[in-house]
């Protein structure tokens, strides 16, 4: 069995790989900050001297593959944590996990890795990509909507998102539009929405695209039509959209106002340290740090027995801010999902707020395909 050289020394090395430049940097920075917050509050992770190396993948898969190899081969990290985006994940899975190093994704959760290509050295603290969309589909279904307008950027994740929505929504669609990736002006799509007057709009517009869509949506006077989304209205975009987004609905596995002990500690700590409301990206990375901590502590710092390590991680013995958390057979989380709404918080900042639990202990649709 493959035991990375790194497993033998007495420093715990963790590599974080996130997109820290370009417009999506806001997401990467949240995740990084979430992880570092946990590291700070835990002190020595796993009771070991800890070294954290942060690298920027610049949103480039080819570069990310090299950086990941660099973390594993040159820096000898025990864990690689990251990334944000699926295409980066696809590029680094092989280089990291083939050496026996553990990869913990804190956001991207591609279907292949949840299903047929599941991997004993790969864990995710986030979700399977389709799940938040399914939440919104189920919500739309429960509201009895009959014609929903669907919109997503024209790339793999966008197509998956609409598929995910339709997985749990059986009504008709008023239109299905794929926008250009990185599109910033949605006047043309909004014109269509205005013309069709659907029961609701569902969209997946991460990052800057979402900010623009939300602002323009309210400017176009369309707020009477319910706006359902995933990864669009969240704590990374709310500072820019502010009031324009208030009242919009999303699907999530957590919200900052979820009432658990652990969540309060996390959210308060984050706001105190970074003066911003944390989003899921931060929470999931925070959990990755807790996950590593719990596993390493269980083993008393001896990482050479890889099976034991994997078993320890799989136990997921820590208090997640989101409450219930465990790993399914495919190392993807089994967790609850909520309908969340954008609100202006009491502290004057903007954030999402839990409105309704949609799924309880939800398992993704690909777990059955995983032979592990």
């Amino acid at each position: 069995q493959d035991v990375p050289a790194a497993a033998n020394d007495d420093v715990l090395k963790i590599g974080l790989i996130y997109t820290l430049s370009g417009p999506p940097a806001a997401l990467g920075e949240q995740a990084r900050d979430g992880f570092l917050l946990a590291a700070e509050s835990l002190g020595d992770i796993g009771g070991m001297k800890t070294e954290i190396i942060v690298v920027d993948d610049e949103g480039r898969p080819d570069l990310a593959a090299d950086k990941a190899r660099e973390l594993v081969q040159r820096d000898g990290v025990d864990f690689v944590v990251g990334p944000i985006f699926s295409n980066i994940l696809m590029a680094i899975v092989q280089p990291v996990t083939s050496t026996g190093t553990i990869l913990i994704s804190t956001n991207a959760g591609t279907s292949t890795l949840a299903g047929e290509a599941c991997n004993p050295n790969f864990y995710t603290t986030s979700y399977q990509n389709d799940q938040n969309h399914e939440v919104m589909g189920a919500y739309a279904e429960s509201q009895g909507y009959q014609n929903v307008f669907l919109m997503a950027p024209n790339y793999q994740a966008g197509q998956d998102s609409l598929a995910g929505f339709k997985h749990s929504y059986t009504g008709a669609t008023a239109g299905e539009v794929f926008t250009e990736l990185g599109q910033l002006d949605f006047s043309s799509e909004l014109a269509q929405i205005a013309a069709f007057q659907p029961d609701a709009v569902f969209t997946f517009m991460p990052g800057g695209m979402g900010v623009n869509l939300v602002k323009q949506y309210s400017q176009a006077g369309l707020t009477s039509i319910p706006f359902l989304s995933a990864f669009t209205v969240d704590e990374t975009t709310l500072p820019a959209t502010q009031d324009a987004a208030v009242g919009m609905l999303g699907g999530a596995n957590w919200a900052p106002d979820l009432e658990t002990e652990a969540n309060k500690a996390f959210v308060d700590g984050y706001i105190a340290k970074y003066n911003a409301v944390p989003g899921t990206y931060a929470m999931q990375a925070y959990d990755a740090a807790q996950l590593i901590d719990s596993a390493v502590k269980k083993l008393g710092g001896d990482l050479t027995d890889r099976d034991a390590l994997r078993a320890a991680i799989h136990e997921a013995d820590f208090d997640s801010p989101r409450g219930d958390f465990s790993f399914g057979t495919n190392n993807f989380p089994v967790q609850d999902f909520y309908l969340v709404e954008a609100v202006k918080r009491e502290d004057g900042m903007y954030g999402t707020s839990v409105k309704e639990k949609i799924f309880d202990d939800y398992v993704d649709n690909y777990a059955a395909q995983c032979k592990m």
Binding site: L20, S21, G22, P23, A25, A26, E29, N154, E176, V177, F178, T179, E180, L181, G182, L184, D185, S187, S188, A191, Q192, A194, A195, Q197, G208, V211, N212, K215, Q216, Q219, A220, G221, T236, T237, P239, A240, T241, Q242
Partner: protein, 305 residues
Amino acid sequence: MMNLFVLQLLNGLQLGVLLFLIAAGLTLVFGIMDVINLAHGVLYMVGAYLIATFAAATGSFWWGLLLMLPAAVIVGLVVEFVVIRRLYARSHLDQVLATFGLVMIANEAVKMIWGASPLSVPMPDILSGSVPLMGPLKYPVYRIAIIVAGLAVAAGLFVMVNYTRVGMLLRAGATNRSIVSALGVDINRLFAIVFTLGAVLACLAGALVAPILSVDTGMGESVLILTFVVVVIGGIGSIKGAFLGALLVAVVDTLGGVFGPILLREVLDPAAAGQMGRVLAPMLVYILMAVILFAKPAGLFGRPA
């Protein structure tokens, strides 16, 4: 369907006018001073960040706009003086390399100053409503304002370049700097003015879209390529070309995305049409450019080599 068409035309016009504002500066600097300025998109971004800052500081969009203009002039003059001026006599490739460097510097500097999260600019109250259009349709006042402002600038520029002496000197300087100066014209000052004018227009475009779009570090880059497409379709150095090119690109983009799939469905079965539409949609602008350049290798109004 008709409603949608009209609305899309208006959207196309608005996008086109905006593209024109950016492209005008690029085509002037490029056609007249023969400088390829990749940092032009950066100026657009800076304009947006400037107005975001000033509007936040003063609490008013209008004050923000007013303060942004002199700041843009300063930015233009400084960039011209520090870098661009030294590139006039250099090859296009050197210009590409240097201004590419400027882009990197500016993007990083903006991120260091303003952070990576997008900023937003509130829309001025008087322009924030929408006006009723036919039937249930409404159109945002602010976008109409952009159209009007853009058209005014277009007309002004067109007159300046084609009918004033400054315009003549600019065109003359484009082809033969040294002779223009040997005939008694301070070409450096003239070029500095043009560059600054282009910079201010780009900043203005950035400032105008700030209330509609998020202000983020990538906005300059995404618009740069599109602006180059516009300039090249119109013919380098031609204000008229930039204007028509901008409208063409914008209309093809807005209408093509919506009506393209509908047309495709006429000839293909829905699944294939959907697939085809998804493949073609992002290419649309590029296909347009390739077709136009194939037919007119120097753009619509460019001078053939």
